[in-house]
């Protein structure tokens, strides 16, 4: 945690956008890598770096599938990631409420 109680893994603009975008999906849904990239507006390399950090913390899960010639990577927020975003949002509220 940072000094102000904010999860340092989420408290980064790009990763906050990734987590917030995935949280907009209903529970049990996943988003393709290309759609997520399109929505966030990042280069593939940049997005991969941030996704890897989130996946290492078990905030997101990714799955690769192939239908013959095309390989598709999908990304979803895990229950742990959803809870972390909830805690982060709560910490932000408390912090801003106190300012």
């Amino acid at each position: 945690m940072t000094d102000d109680g904010l999860d340092p893994l989420i408290h980064v603009p790009t990763r906050l956008k990734i987590v917030a975008t995935l949280a907009a999906l209903p529970d049990g849904d996943a988003l393709s890598f290309t759609r997520l990239q399109d929505m966030i507006g990042l280069t593939p390399g940049n997005l991969i770096i941030h996704l890897r950090k989130l996946e290492e913390a078990d905030y997101i899960s990714s799955k690769k599938s192939s239908n013959g010639t095309v390989s598709i990577t999908t990304v979803a927020l895990t229950g742990h990631g959803r809870a972390a975003l909830g805690a982060y949002t709560q910490a932000l509220r408390e912090l801003l409420g106190g300012l």
Partner: protein, 209 residues
Amino acid sequence: MNTTPGTTADNGGNFDPRQAAALLDQTTQQARRQLQPSPPWLLATRAVMVLAALGAIWLSVRGQHPYRGPTAADIPILVAFIVINFAATVAVRRRATTGVSGRSPLRPAEITIAALAWVAVVVVMVALAVAGVSYSLYPTTVLIIPGLAWAAVMAARKDWGNCVTGLAVGVVGVAGLFAGPAGAWAVAGVGLCVVLLGRAAFIAWQQHA
């Protein structure tokens, strides 16, 4: 490495909590809008269109004694409404659900149930007509089976918002049976308009919650 405004503060050190709150709010609302297969604006537009199309037909049939049904001039209005509605729905839904997988997209079995519901409508309407039952002339009769089938499919998914919408469509269908064949056009127009506006308001509220 490419940098964007989002990566300059990779350790979050310069990321002010106020900026974070604004970014979180903005991203959440933007994502909800982009991923919504039935956006409020589409539902509201559909509500106005259904009221206009069915209202126009009601105006042309309300003076009929005995009731003969929509005139040849009314049919293009109805067909245009159905075609525009279908095309807009498919286009918006396709754009919203691109790249989305998991539980939200309709499964083949659910699509089959919805299609069978419409087949059932045709069978029931023909059976009623052959039996000489006047309800075969009521436009709202066609709403009952698909409305209830949709409610059942959505209840199985625990999607209560869509379930209520399906039930409401079914209720509009039943209510029309008490309005007479001409009055049923007005009931269908007003009823579906209210249902669609209600759904639009609910989704708009969800997006801003």
